[in-house]
């Protein structure tokens, strides 16, 4: 029995190397000097002759790429800041508007609730391209194209966080809600004092998923933002790679850090939230 488990563990560790090896590789490459990096990867990234060489660890580790990226690439800062200016308002808006919506869908029985829930799910699985034209026309009418708001406003009304949070709300035991009502709490108070604290894992996990989603956004800025100065890092990063090969890995790592820290901090909540989203109604 013990031995068998050891084999399973070994197998899983082997399988997981598909994940940690690439990440380790990227982290290691980000400490590589320009010459060495071009020697190893120039064949792919800079159009040099020959073949890319896989070498995990840098021979001469250096902070040079980070120094150049952080002190010498103003474009990178602009895009990083753009990403922040787009992601955080979206999350705040989802919190203010999505949470009450999710409470209603998760806790109240009313006529049309099922249809509404169905509509939410349909909107949820629809790829961005389906609403691209209508979104574009609406934003044009409001003269919001080519502004941060073109990403923020549609993002706030995304249905996915409402879906996750409504699952979290409907998972609260009825007795708790009843008890609060008997104690004389009004609906709003029940929502604030019982609903939100009890569903906090779901809410946090919706926020983390939202962060990952909007930190990664590609299609929306591509369609709605013409001015490159407004682009988020997610869309701009591949350009850095082709312009300045020596900072490409460092830039990748810097972009990845906020997402990874958030993930590691909230992994417990995230798992609970994801798990709740899969449960049948």
């Amino acid at each position: 029995m013990k031995r068998k488990n050891r084999w399973i563990t070994a197998g899983l560790v082997l399988l997981s190397s598909v994940i940690w090896l690439p990440l380790l590789y990227m982290a290691a490459q980000s400490f590589m000097g320009k010459g060495e990096l071009i020697e190893n990867t120039g064949a792919v990234l800079a159009g040099a002759d020959g073949r890319a060489h896989f070498s995990l660890l840098p021979k001469y580790p250096t902070l040079e790429p980070y120094v150049e990226l952080l002190l010498d690439s103003p474009g990178f800062f602009v895009m990083f800041w753009n990403s922040c200016r787009q992601v955080f308002p979206v999350l705040l808006g989802q919190l203010l508007i999505g949470t009450p919506a999710a409470w209603a869908l998760g806790r109240y029985k009313f006529r049309g609730r099922n249809i509404l829930m169905l509509l939410y799910m349909i909107l949820m699985i629809m790829p961005f391209q389906v609403t691209m034209v209508s979104g574009y026309l609406v934003l044009k009418q409001f003269q919001l194209l080519d502004t941060h708001l073109a990403l923020i406003l549609p993002g706030i009304f995304n249905t996915f966080p409402v879906f996750i949070m409504s699952k979290a709300f409907s998972g609260i035991p009825d007795s708790l809600i009843e008890a609060a009502r008997i104690d004389g709490a009004g609906e709003f108070k029940v929502f604030c004092m019982v609903g939100v604290p009890m569903a906090l894992p779901g809410i946090i996990s919706a926020m983390i998923l939202g962060f990952l989603e909007y930190w990664n956004v590609i299609e929306q800025p591509m369609t709605f933002l013409k001015t490159k100065n407004l682009w988020p890092l997610s869309l701009y990063l591949p350009n850095i790679t082709s312009d300045k090969i020596n900072v490409s890995f460092a830039a990748s790592i810097v972009m990845l850090l906020p997402a990874v820290f958030l993930f590691l901090w909230g992994q417990q909540y995230l798992e609970q939230g994801i798990a709740a989203s899969g449960l049948k109604e």
Partner: protein, 244 residues
């Protein structure tokens, strides 16, 4: 209607769109991608979930590792995928050692499988968590009772685990479908507007139509896509209702 919305043209736009070979290609690629990826992802993640729940050592660490890719921004990882799958990349260098002739992975039919790989890479952890939640719902007493009756591990898995996981399958498939549309990001960042035709998806087609301001075609195609999405969700919903 025509672009300015004056003349009613009936179903003409729909017929034009359906007749377009680029539309047929994009639809068939998208469908092929979905029917390849989702079963593969469900099986792989179920296997990982079952195996991971059977071990105790390193369990939390492995869970974190498998879930990790969902936190990795696409833009960060594509530089690595390019290094691996490029004609002059690592994969070709690796297989040449075994005297297999190299191929240009992103510019051939294999591009499809590169995309499948990157989808599995990113989403296995997410689905693993969903499966683990389903597994947790199964009471231990069922397994104990079965073991008393002399059932082995295999019987337990096929007669208890699988049937009891069935209600969660539909929801996991829907969430996997949502994520499958996001693979366009990888495809776009690696291969651009016009990738190899094996990964020319509906999303590429929509983008290219958008650039050309082909509003009529886009609207017709959007309606069809929205209808398909609605059918899927309603189908899932009805099968759920039936089981209740």
């Amino acid at each position: 209607m025509d672009a300015v919305g004056v003349n009613f043209t009936g179903l003409d736009n729909y017929l034009t769109v359906i007749g377009k070979s680029s539309f047929q290609l994009a639809v068939s690629n998208t469908v092929r991608f979905i029917v390849t990826c989702i079963p593969l992802l469900l099986l792989l993640s179920l296997a990982v979930a079952v195996l991971i729940s059977s071990i105790t050592r390193l369990r939390e660490l492995l869970k974190t590792i498998f879930l990790f890719p969902m936190a990795i921004p696409v833009a960060s990882i594509v530089v690595l995928w390019r290094l691996v799958f490029d004609n002059h990349g690592f994969l070709n260098g690796f297989i040449e050692r075994f005297h297999i002739s190299p191929t240009d992975w992103m510019n051939g039919p294999s591009a499809f499988y590169v995309l499948v790989f990157s989808y599995l890479w990113k989403n296995t952890g997410y689905d693993m968590i969903l499966w683990l939640a389903g597994l947790n719902e199964i009471p231990d007493s069922l397994y104990e009772a079965a073991r008393m009756d002399g059932a082995g591990k295999k019987e337990c898995f096929f007669h208890i685990t699988l049937p009891l996981l069935r209600p969660t399958v539909a929801m996991i498939a829907v969430l996997s479908l949502v994520n499958s549309f996001k693979v366009f990001r990888e495809a776009y960042l690696i291969a651009g507007d016009y990738p190899h035709k094996s990964i020319y998806m509906l999303q590429h087609l929509f983008n290219n139509w958008f650039v050309k301001l082909d509003i009529q075609k886009m609207s017709a195609a959007s309606v069809m896509m929205a209808a398909a999405a609605s059918l899927i969700i309603i189908g899932v919903h009805l099968t759920h209702e039936k089981k209740k």
